[in-house]
Subunit: 570 residues, 2 copies
């Protein structure tokens, strides 16, 4: 038999390796020939370049099955710089945050980014933009928009369907998005924290294929038995792996995936990425091959990525050389046959974003301190209360001094803090103002950020209205960022010019800047150490977490699903 | 949380069963509620009908991952009647034979049949119609035709790609078919007997996802390591399971499927179907859950059938109740929630085909004994030789008496047999004639059949030309069938009016008729018992099996890929 490929010269031969064959579940010694970015053969042959694996293990590139790139505060290019040295070569990204800012443009932009970056970014179309119908988000993705985006080959399906009541009750608009996805043979990601029993049955049977919200072995087992893949999450805040290990029986590992969901750049720099989660799983007693499968083959199968997830001819040459099957530290990383990192460092020029990727998204009406006036005619105020180490809020009350105009000003109320959400997509001038728990600790200035889930308006807190206005204006001036102002002076800032959510700087720089800002927040601005200074603010505007939240349209009582006044007697 | 489905009344509740959960790899006691043909819940609830499982095991309906329905000689309806009582609820059918007769119409007809039958027939578009370019088949499926057919939702992909040299050499027409399939995210089935090493790497890397031609553990392991699914075949002739068992390590069972490929109705009636293969695997030492997965979940995953392969809410209620996990005998079978069989018998009216399904496909020019004249001017003849229990042929030679016209007639050559292939699709009159090995044993008449792989013209063998002509005419008269003629009299026949390949009668009737014809063939017509009387004839016209075959255009030397004369000195 003549076979053209038999005599083909390879671009690359990685020799002297132990090939981790996740398909057969075995490890064997050998070599891997690569051509045109794909694995060509296990047979030794002439190659333009030879890499000596020195007897190390060669594993398939790791896949993060569910991630919001935005949580790293890095742009897609910076995110690739961050992840590649750790051996993550594919991410299944849900651009939920950037889509709340830029809608279809964000999804299309991410698809384009994937085409030019050395890391593969597969896209899930965000299913819930905006999170709630009355939100002042930057964009809306209706079922018709979703359908259009689903058609792109880089799109693997529909992003986490958070509206579980809508699914269970078969809401037509929700089902239109799901059914359009299923009709294309694509995947619908779930998000069903604590859902169980018949509710979960109704949710899963709508065609939801994954859930990354398991936090107990029972939840994991139930989801698998209902036909869902359990994506085991190990993020910055939510770290579920160790709690789930007792549920990860060898018989069901094929239905388990790994993901990070939300993870700060600094966490990844310090602890590693998917490879580190594989290592943690192995340390916790999971068979190494099964652990690797959760980060490779299983994810590829779940999402229909037939071109990756295993080392086999015809698949992408996304490969990671690791010293051992315990720490999974990446000695060398290839994507599509190109060496992109060695010993934890990129070996290629830092990837760059398209220069126009989601720029100039911050548009505000002129802001002055008068915008933060807060009418509380009765003098008895309703206030957002916070809890230590928790994004849930509580309703608190306080007596405040008011002026003749019925407004409460911070100058008259030392020790009190205001919080505001300023609409920043369409320069509508809409601004919600409320009192914020003094336990937050802020004094001597204001902090503003354009990261505020899910609509990403500008949220600002301060002990005086003038600094609040300055901080908001500077955030707009930067086209997004975190800004700290004290007595009229900009003390520190992090620019986030990409969708107002992400930096265009490299991971080390961003992580260092955040460390600096965090230290200032606690040391100079007095923020309590029982709260994440910035994340606390970022989640104050998310009206799906109980109990009292603030939107551009005012205080929102989440459990009663209605707006309420800051005047407790109104 | 309100959930509509929580309070839904079910159509059916199967209670008191041990649910075999192939997703989790466990067995648990419980009940299964069904509504609108889908599994609704594992929670007990009101139901229009309750079925007491009496503590038996409930397993997902079995899936045959690769089958040619035609080999059963039953129409799709008859095939469903045959398989349902054994618990096979889905077949992945490659209508290769009927497509060689009726092309696109056959594929579309099978799609329609699936829509009306109580068994699910998923369709693979035949990839090699005709098998060779010079074949007088009834139809051609070019890459453009294939593309059109691939779009149907009932079509799971491209049928077994037998042209492996074409794949390995990346023949444009072959690759057009493969790439069109992959572009739709569908599956390409393979067929790569004995292919190994770099040839197999080149074959697999083209995107071929399965192979059902493994006959050794090494072949199975190699295919799995190259990313293919190994479909373990247990047909009538090729029975590979027991030989493969040593290769089916627990770590790779997820990449293994079960199939029957070609299996006679009588074999299935006697031995059972996929359930019996699962039982055989378990008896051979495979873990029962893994064996069931090979017949359910793995196949569903391989072919992207997310709606079946496991018992879970939202999936098709294709269910089989079995007494134990050793013999897997089906006590009750449901498809889409309807009880279709109990204790080995249909509980529904026998399914029926559409009345016009592939009828009137046999068209011949007038045939007389003169058509079987065989010019051998030298008197030294080349002859097709057969081997015991083998479809491979050899070249033999014989001295024959000829008349003045240069032709050899059987009347002058007692003990000799002629074989002929009569074109029957377009009534072209093309007839290939040759001498056939006397070892076949036929005497006192002629046997003709419209089953002759792959083009399915009429093949006839006889010891006199008059009976040969009568037999061919009667096959045409029946619109397809097997006919036995002795001294001008039709002794026995089996009508195969569906595409000239399949009966419209029920499985028992067809199996009984074949038994009768077979007995007659050996006892009255003298056919050697070292050959299958009819299958031997059916494969004589397949010019891809070495060494000497006969087509409508004459004798074909397979290894040298050229036509040769019956006159050894020509």
């Amino acid at each position: 038999m003549t076979a053209v490929l038999q005599t083909d010269c390879a671009d690359l031969l990685i020799e002297n390796v132990r090939i981790v064959d996740v398909l057969s579940g075995t490890v064997r010694e050998g070599c891997v020939a690569v051509k045109d970015g794909r694995i060509l053969s296990f047979t030794r042959r002439e190659a333009a370049e030879v890499y000596d694996g020195a007897g190390r293990y060669l594993v398939p590139g790791f896949i993060d099955s569910h991630v919001h790139i935005e949580s790293s505060m890095l742009s897609p290019a910076g995110f690739a710089s961050l992840l590649l040295p750790f051996g993550t070569t594919t991410v299944v990204a849900d651009p939920h945050e950037m889509a709340n800012v830029s809608g279809e443009e964000a999804v299309l932009g991410l698809i384009k980014a994937s085409q030019r970056l050395p890391m593969s970014i597969k896209v899930m179309v965000p299913s819930c933009v905006p999170a709630l119908p009355f939100e002042d988000s930057g964009a809306v993705l209706a079922s018709e928009d979703v359908k259009k985006l689903l058609a792109y080959p880089e799109v693997l399906g529909l992003g986490e369907m958070m509206n579980f009541p809508g699914v269970i009750n078969r809401d037509p608009e929700v089902m239109a998005k799901i059914n359009a996805t299923l009709a294309l043979g694509k995947t619908v990601d779930g998000h069903a924290p604590m859902l169980t029993g018949t509710g979960l049955e109704a949710y899963a049977s709508a065609g939801i294929k994954t859930d990354h919200e398991c936090s107990t072995p029972e939840e994991l087992r139930e989801r698998v038995a209902l036909g869902m893949y359990a994506a085991i999450r190990q993020g910055s805040a939510a770290r579920n792996l160790l709690a789930l290990v007792p549920g990860i029986d060898a018989k069901l590992t094929r239905r388990c995936l790994l993901c990070t969901d939300d993870r700060h750049a600094a966490d990844t720099l310090e602890k590693g990425h998917i490879g580190a989660i594989v290592a943690l799983a192995v340390k916790a007693g999971i068979d190494p091959i099964e652990a690797i499968r959760m980060a490779t083959l299983n994810t590829a199968e779940c999402y229909g990525m037939n071109d990756r997830g295993a080392i086999a001819p015809g698949r992408r040459a996304d490969l990671v050389l690791v010293d051992n099957l315990t720490n999974f530290k990446a000695e060398a990383v290839w994507t599509e046959g190109n060496l992109v990192a060695e010993k934890g460092r990129l070996t290629i020029p830092a990837p760059e974003d398209a220069p126009d990727f989601l720029r100039n998204t911050v548009h505000i009406a002129p802001v002055t301190e008068a915008d933060f006036a807060l009418p509380i005619p009765s003098g008895h105020a309703r206030m957002i209360g916070i809890l230590p180490h928790d994004l849930t809020t509580v309703e608190k009350f306080a007596d405040v001094k008011i002026r003749e105009d019925g407004n409460m000003y911070l100058a008259d109320n030392p020790g009190m803090i205001k919080i505001a959400v300023v609409e920043r997509h369409k320069a509508s001038g809409k601004t919600g103002v409320a009192l914020f728990d003094p336990a937050y600790g802020l004094s001597g200035g204001a902090i503003a950020t354009s990261i505020s889930h899910d609509s990403h308006n500008i949220v600002v807190a301060g002990d005086n209205e003038a600094d609040m206005a300055t901080a908001v204006r500077e955030v707009a001036n930067l086209q997004g960022g975190i800004v700290m102002v004290s007595k009229g002076e900009i003390v520190a800032e992090l620019e986030l010019p990409v969708a107002g959510l992400m930096s265009d700087k490299n991971p080390d720089e961003v992580a260092a800047k955040i460390r600096k800002l965090t230290a200032l927040a606690h040391d100079r601005f007095g923020i309590t150490k029982t709260a994440d200074a910035f994340m606390t603010l970022s989640f104050m505007a998310l009206p799906v977490i109980p109990y009292l939240k603030l939107t551009t349209r005012g205080l929102f009582d989440v459990m009663n699903f209605r707006f309420v006044s800051s005047d407790a007697e109104a």
